[in-house]
Amino acid sequence: MSNLPNETLIPHIGVVTDVRIDTPDVKTFRVVAPEGGVCFKHIPGQCAMLSIPGVGEAMFSITSSPTNTDFMEFSIKKCGCLTSWLHMMEPGQQITIRGPYGNGFPVESDFKGKDLLFIAGGIGLAPLRSVINYVRHYRSNYGKVDIVYGSRSKDDLVDYNEILNEWCNEEGVNVYLTIDREQEGWDGHVGFVPNYVKELGFDTNKTAIICGPPIMIKFTLAGLQELGFDKTQVFTTMELKMKCGVGKCGRCNIGSKYVCKDGPVFRCDQLDELPNEY
């Protein structure tokens, strides 16, 4: 068997070493290779195919930064069959993992030296967390970092502890949190992310990175344009149904682009050139 060529559809084993409950429906899973360390290298914004054999396989963005070589993390919202099974896992459970897939964020090109504005809604923080922590690691390579993050309620903020204890305390990093509705014990901002972004009124010399529900992306992009941002300054990351992860199974295309291979990260002006079918 050893002389057979490498086959991307055949996964590796991953061991779940830690399960963190983030919100009522989001858990973050720490995954390592059986021999320890990460299963493979990746760049921020790339994804991996996770599977419980017999249940299914699906694409998830890698939440941890590649600067972390001890483990990978995946923040996963319970929304379907496979994710429900994943949520039942306990530490020590093995899963299968293959990847990395997708283009990732241009952290070594377009983003370098720039002021970065991260805008996330709900579970949309998952792919951005990888970039944010990467940028924090190579802090001197990037300019000022602003993070606007909102969710339905305080309890739905993913990675809340890391945000409070690390991001908020870092120099040159500003964190703006918001929740959709007033809530007891919350003295921060209340309101939807797109409106909050407009209220905050950022300088247009920044590069913006948005991820969240499609409706939030749409309105946030419109808000940024009102502020004077050009679509070439705004990046987002997409999600469609995938099976292979390498542009062959034929289902995650938007026009001629495959989200798994040509994405998931798109610059908003590039996305504009694609048909509106996502």
């Binding site: 084993i13 017999g54 929304c79 069959c81 149904k241 099976k243 034929g250 289902r251 295309n253 001629s256």
Partner: protein, 342 residues
């Protein structure tokens, strides 16, 4: 170039089959299907096309990918790939032979699909020129010459003679195995036959179908055309067109609990199916109009955009003949194209 009497084809097939599986069109209750040659099967070289295309030989409808054993919290992965034994496909029409190049661009591009690759490397393709094309044929529209059908070996079958011409190293190797059954080919006779069938191909009603307006840059011009609604109106959302198509290559990956472990397999999937793009969170192609549009946009625009302008259709006419409601790529091209309005 060689030839053999038509009456001795059985000997030729037996010889080829002696050194590996021989797959060719055989009779199956009134239909032709690619099947394994045995002395008992009824070979059907007279029917133009098999119902299923020759892609099955390299990209079967279902294939096992890998197995898993689950023990407590532990998983072991079983690589089930086996080296593919050499085989020959005989009687492949020019359209199907051209489809392999289209599939290659998908499966052999990085990262290579090793399941497909191993079959592709092991298979020798013997094509057969089309002496009696059907009205549904339009391969010439895609630059395919059914009179000179390509493959590793090209064959021409007249009333009494099979002409045999090797085109590649694989073809030479196969020729070597059957050479003592063959005699030197009568070039003039072959030329005369080719001219005769060329004249028939000239009469095909779809030969002047124009592809003007379809190319990798046509997404914007075609995507929102109102005609998609009418074209897709009667589509029943079955997978017939995609499954008989020699270039459709979409697949699904699924797991099956065998009772002794988990078998992961892949199977053909169809963009015409409602669950093709359905996620827990929604579906970007909600109605049959979007699914229908995807199929034809993929063949005529998206695939060319990613593959040097090559279309993902070979004009075999299977979808034309088989669609339950008689809606097909020809009607799409005629409706949305630039030059097809009579």
């Amino acid at each position: 170039m060689y030839q053999i009497e038509k009456a001795r084809l059985g000997e030729l097939f037996a010889r080829i089959a002696a050194s590996g599986e021989l797959i060719l069109p055989v009779e199956n209750n009134g239909t032709s299907q690619y099947g394994t040659w045995t002395p008992e099967v009824e070979v059907r070289l007279d029917r133009l096309n098999t119902v299923r295309s020759a892609k099955d030989c390299f990209f079967p409808q279902t294939e096992n990918l890998m197995g898993f054993q689950m023990k407590g919290k532990e998983i072991s992965i079983i690589d089930q790939r086996k080296p593919c034994e050499p085989f020959t496909v005989f009687g492949v029409r020019a359209c199907d032979a051209a489809s392999f190049g289209i599939l290659d661009r998908v499966f052999l591009s990085e990262p290579v699909d090793t399941y497909y690759q191993s079959r592709r490397l092991a298979g020798t393709i013997v094509t057969l020129a089309c002496g009696e094309p059907e009205e549904t044929c339009f391969c010439s529209v895609f630059g395919i010459d059914a009179v000179k059908p390509g493959g590793d070996v090209s064959c021409w079958l007249t009333e009494d003679t099979l002409f045999w011409k090797s085109l590649t190293e694989k073809g030479d190797a196969l020729t070597e195995k059957v050479k003592d059954l063959l005699t030197d080919g009568d070039e003039a006779a072959l030329k005369a036959y080719q001219e005769k069938i060329s004249a028939i191909h000239e009469k095909l009603p779809l030969k002047n179908l124009s592809l003007e307006g379809f190319n990798g840059d046509a997404t914007e011009a075609l995507f929102d055309r109102p005609e998609w609604a009418e074209l897709s109106e009667a589509c029943i959302g079955c997978g017939t067109c995609t499954f008989v198509c020699p270039t459709c290559q979409c697949y699904d990956i699924r797991d099956f609990d065998t009772g002794h472990g988990i078998q992961r397999f892949r199977c053909w999937d169809s963009c015409m199916y409602s669950d093709f793009t359905k996620m827990a969170g929604g579906n970007p192609r909600l109605t049959q109009k979007e699914r229908f549009r995807q199929r034809f946009m993929h063949k005529l625009v998206y695939y060319p955009a990613n593959n040097d302008g090559i279309y993902s259709c070979v004009g075999c006419g299977r979808c034309v003949a088989k669609c339950p409601i008689s809606m097909n790529i020809v009607k799409v091209i005629k409706t949305l194209g630039v030059k097809n309005h009579e």
